[in-house]
């Protein structure tokens, strides 16, 4: 009976914890509302470890409170000399063995999950025709923006990662300048983008981002990388497989796009002011010198109109584009883009309108 009760108590603790933890945070950002298998697995480890650790805290606090209230000098008397106990072998064994057992309970799933999440062999898996079955994304982190290249699809985008749901997506990660770290809290744990070597890992996206507040998951840079480290956000759009395929096709045709008449002036200004030197406006991947790290100087703008933010952090409006072009050094200190505050306001507005027209979505 007693035993049953104890078991039930443990389950209740677990359930209460889950409810409490998931009540925290926003579903597009929080690790407590995992929207993918990897994040779920990590969340389960969080629950397991929190349960074990809560147990430890309860035991310690119980002994602590009892000994404090029972053995205060005001209780035992001012002149009592307590027995000078040396120790107890039995107790020493107990509080060595029980923690070891608790740690083993945690260690086994930890090691299992470490190997499971570290297994990126699926990246190179091929079907009977020799075609890759899994989607791979090459991520290049740069001073304060992200580039996402899809090497098998021949397309590239930046600042907004677009991925299909329901399958493992593999990532090749590298940094082009200083070290950054790639983190989509709601979907799964992070991986550093080192400067000298390629890191590989995978994530699994279960939930379509459509229903979220901004329609995207939030991604963060998790390694200090300079003054604008806090502003090195990116967004993640997750689509059903069919929608994703449509998006890919649209992306592959971005070099065929024609510029509509009302933004032609903007395109001209974009070229005349040299923007085009750093920012591509089609999504076709070029072959970089380094097979993984892109050598693009500035973010690809082929899907600018579809994005959620300007420069990762500003509201997605034409006014903010102009604001960015005039004040980029104040908005994201340390970023490498030159200022365009000497260009006429009208030209900047035209550029903004042109950029907003760059879209692959309906």
């Amino acid at each position: 009976m007693m035993r049953k009760f104890k078991k039930w108590r443990f389950v209740a603790l677990f359930a209460a914890m889950t409810v409490f933890l998931t009540a925290c945070g926003e579903d597009y950002l929080s690790t407590l509302t995992p929207a993918g298998k990897v994040g779920q697995e990590q969340f389960n480890l969080l629950l397991l470890s929190t349960a074990i650790m809560t147990l430890v805290i309860i035991v310690v606090c119980a002994i602590y409170l009892i000994s404090f209230f029972k053995f205060r000098r005001s209780v035992v008397g001012e002149h009592v000399i307590p027995k000078q106990v040396e120790g107890s072998h039995t107790l020493e064994v107990i509080w060595t063995v029980i923690p070891i057992i608790l740690l083993l309970i945690l260690a086994v799933p930890t090691v299992t999950a470490t190997y499971k999440l570290g297994d990126t062999s699926g990246m190179d898996a091929v079907d009977e025709n020799g075609e890759k079955t899994a989607l791979t994304v090459n991520v290049t982190a740069k001073l304060y923006w992200w580039e996402f290249e899809y090497p098998d699809l021949g397309i590239v985008t930046s600042q907004e990662l677009v991925v299909p749901t329901g399958e493992n997506v593999y990532f090749n990660l590298i940094a082009a300048d200083v070290k950054h770290s790639f983190w989509i809290p709601a979907v799964g744990g992070k991986m550093d983008t080192n400067v000298e070597n390629l890191n590989k890992f995978y994530l699994h996206f279960d939930e379509e981002s459509e229903g979220l507040k901004d329609g995207v998951f939030y991604g963060k840079c998790a390694e200090l990388c300079g003054p604008s480290h806090a502003l090195m956000d990116f967004k993640v759009k997750t689509l059903a497989k069919d929608d994703f395929n449509e998006w890919v096709e649209a992306m592959q045709n971005t070099d065929q796009r024609t510029v509509s008449a009302d933004v032609e002036a903007g395109e001209k200004a974009f070229v005349d002011n040299g923007c085009i030197a750093c920012h591509a406006t089609d999504a076709i991947a070029t072959t970089p010198e380094n097979p993984y790290a892109s050598n693009a100087v500035g973010p690809n703008l082929a899907t600018f109109g579809d994005r959620n933010r300007v420069a990762g952090v500003l509201e997605h409006t034409e006014e903010e584009v102009v604001n960015w072009l005039q004040n980029s050094d104040e908005i994201k200190p340390g970023n490498l883009m030159p200022l365009y505050d000497d260009v006429s306001e009208q030209e900047l507005e035209e550029i903004a309108a042109y950029l907003m027209s760059l879209s692959v979505e309906e």
Partner: protein
């Protein structure tokens, strides 16, 4: 220099402290300097918390925030926590083991001045073009990219103060091995002495990797070497390894002495022998050993591979076992005892739940896949502040109250002390508890700001309020110190009434030679044994009253450090093409250093003897005709 006559006056006092080799005075200087840097680091923390009080705040600029964040971490670890612990080690350990000074008094002084001027050098960066801004870890790709001299101040400043720490560590190792009084066997050493011993051994092995890392970084920046420049075949991950091979043991260098301090406090105010003394010693050594096996858990997301991550995950979890042993032994020390809730005991009581909370989140992070989520988030910030504030800072504050009468023959105000504790303790939990959730909710650490409507506003505000409470607590402690100093009420020997170890047996004020006769240690808690047997003297002597050999004061450590300080500016500005004069600073400074080393090496200094009649005269001066041990 056979005279022990003292000059008085302000100038003479300053000269006395600059030249002193007395471990008690050096301890006081460590406390003063450490407190200064602690307050500095605290102000930096407050500025950061004000900036993060609300989303999209612009109280400080992003670049300045990174400087604050870097200097807060560096200052608190290297210039506040370590020196404050060294302060207590200096003030207490020689007295606990029945020694008249440390093994190398000259080096003790040198160690202090190196630490102090290293810290001053580092902090001068605020006024000389900007502080370092690549985090206290100073990861190589960012620190090489960082402009200005900030990182150079970091590298040179830490190199100097690190040398001081290494010297002090070696000094305590030798002191504890060689200078113990007769009868003070290893297994009779008080636990604070034991933890100092193990922490010193950790310093000996942990600081060289840091020194090497800093030297390589210095070469990269000064001479254009390419150890960490990957475009030239270097590798930044090596910096991470070197830093954390130092950095993780560093955590134990700090926390083990804190454990020792609490062990003393628990035993004293439970009026009971420390429960499981031998397993406490064993656990200390085991923690020290395991501390070197786990550094890569700071690097789980670097991409070392599943096998490395799994091994370091399990090794890290293993540390929880000896740490748990310690916690249970403290609890069982209280069990069956007679607990008196003085201010030091209050800090110790506050320490147990706080530190356990910090420890268990450590185990959670040891689970590598879970750490992929927690790493570099605010969860980590919460975790290590629970360990460092909940463990080390509480130990420092508690010990300040506990050892104040030993060091200054005065007692800090108990009532004010209790109010201080509650402000600090509540503020601490208020600041850092919510940060666990901020991390889980997706807030990366080291961010200068955060966007609104990401669900992070409330907890950040709570955190800032907590920081303000902590600041009030610290302020009250300072007021308490000033108040006590003005009141200047002498409290005499064993003011707590329950002192157990040798340091409490010495008459107050402690004479400069500590023990008129070397004591004979008759067991663990030797003073307790003597008291129980009704020995009014408080100790049994191992020798008759005789001449005492003491070291001479010396100005050389101070001058040597000044030389190195000047040379550092030379090295720093030598990187600028437009400052050709810097080479003269470098050579000049180093010449001063080497001249002092030459003088020290070739001019023998045998110290001096305090003769019996001098001892008797000194005792009469300190304690009057009746003598000290009554």
């Amino acid at each position: 220099m056979s005279s022990i006559a003292k000059k008085t006056g302000f100038g003479a006092t300053v000269w006395d402290y600059i030249t002193t080799v007395d471990h008690k005075k050096i301890g006081v200087m460590y406390l003063l300097a450490g407190t200064f840097f602690f307050v500095l680091g605290g102000i930096e923390a407050l500025l950061m918390r004000i900036q993060l009080m609300r989303p999209n705040n612009d109280f400080v600029s992003a670049g300045f925030f990174n400087e604050l964040m870097t200097m807060h971490g560096t200052t608190m670890i290297f210039l506040a926590a370590m020196p404050l612990l060294f302060g207590f080690m200096n003030a207490v350990v020689p007295l606990q083991i029945g020694a008249r000074d440390v093994a190398f008094p000259f080096l003790n002084s040198l160690g202090f001045w190196l630490f102090f001027f290293g810290g001053v050098f580092l902090n001068l960066s605020w006024f000389l073009g900007g502080a370092p801004d690549a985090g206290w870890t100073s990861y190589a790709s960012l620190s090489l990219y960082s402009e200005g001299h900030g990182i150079d101040f970091y590298v040179l400043g830490l190199q100097i103060s690190g040398a001081g720490t290494l010297i002090s560590g070696i000094n305590f190792l030798v002191t504890i091995i060689n200078m113990r009084a007769p009868g003070m066997t290893y297994m009779r050493m008080p636990l604070f002495t034991w933890t100092t011993f193990v922490a010193s051994a950790l310093i000996l092995f942990a600081f060289p990797p840091l020194t090497i890392g800093l030297a390589l970084m210095l070469f990269d920046r000064m001479f254009g070497a390419n150890f960490f420049d990957h475009t030239m075949g270097g590798n930044t991950i090596i910096w991470e390894h070197l830093f954390w091979i130092f950095g993780h043991p560093e955590v134990y260098i700090l926390v083990l002495p804190a454990f020792g301090l609490f062990s003393e406090i628990f035993a004293t105010f439970s009026r009971k022998r420390l429960f499981g003394y031998s397993s406490m010693v064993f656990a200390t050594i085991l923690i020290g050993f395991l501390g070197f096996m786990v550094w890569a858990h700071h690097m789980f997301t670097v991409g070392l591979g599943a096998t490395a991550n799994a091994i370091f995950a399990v090794a890290t979890m293993a540390i929880a076992v000896p740490t748990g042993m310690k916690v249970f032994n403290w609890l069982l020390t209280m069990w069956g005892g007679s607990i008196k809730v003085t201010v030091p005991m209050l800090y110790a009581l506050g320490f147990i739940p706080s530190f356990v909370a910090g420890g268990v989140t450590g185990v959670m992070q040891a689970a590598a896949p879970l750490d992929y989520q927690l790493h570099d988030s605010y969860f980590i910030v919460a975790h290590f502040h629970y360990v460092i504030v909940g463990g080390i800072v509480l130990a420092l504050f508690g010990s300040a109250h506990y050892y104040w009468p030993l060091m200054f023959n005065q007692m800090l105000d108990e009532r004010l002390g209790k109010v201080t504790f509650w402000f600090f303790f509540v503020g601490f939990h208020c600041t850092f508890f919510v940060q666990h959730f901020l991390g889980l909710m997706g807030m990366p650490r080291r961010v200068a700001t955060y966007g609104a409507e990401q669900g992070l506003d409330t907890f950040n505000l709570i955190s800032t309020i907590g920081a303000a409470l902590m600041a009030i607590g610290v302020l009250m402690l300072v007021i308490n110190v000033v108040k006590t100093a003005i009141k200047n009420e002498k409290v005499g020997r064993d003011p707590w009434g329950d002192g157990r170890t040798l340091e409490w047996a010495i008459p107050q004020p402690v004479p400069f030679y500590n023990f008129r006769q070397t004591p004979l240690v008759r067991g663990l808690d030797t003073y307790w044994i003597e008291k129980q047997e009704g020995n009014e003297e408080g100790m049994t002597y191992a020798e008759p009253l005789g001449d005492i050999h003491m070291p001479n004061n010396s100005i050389l450590p101070f001058i040597m450090t000044i030389g190195l300080f000047i040379a550092s500016f030379g090295a720093l500005y030598n990187m600028d093409a437009d400052k050709p004069w810097s080479i003269f600073l470098l050579i000049g400074g180093l010449s001063i250093l080497f001249a002092c080393m030459f003088a020290r090496s070739f001019k023998d200094d045998h110290g001096y003897h305090v003769h019996v009649e001098d001892i008797l005269a000194e005792e009469e001066r300190l304690y009057g005709k009746k003598g000290g041990n009554n």
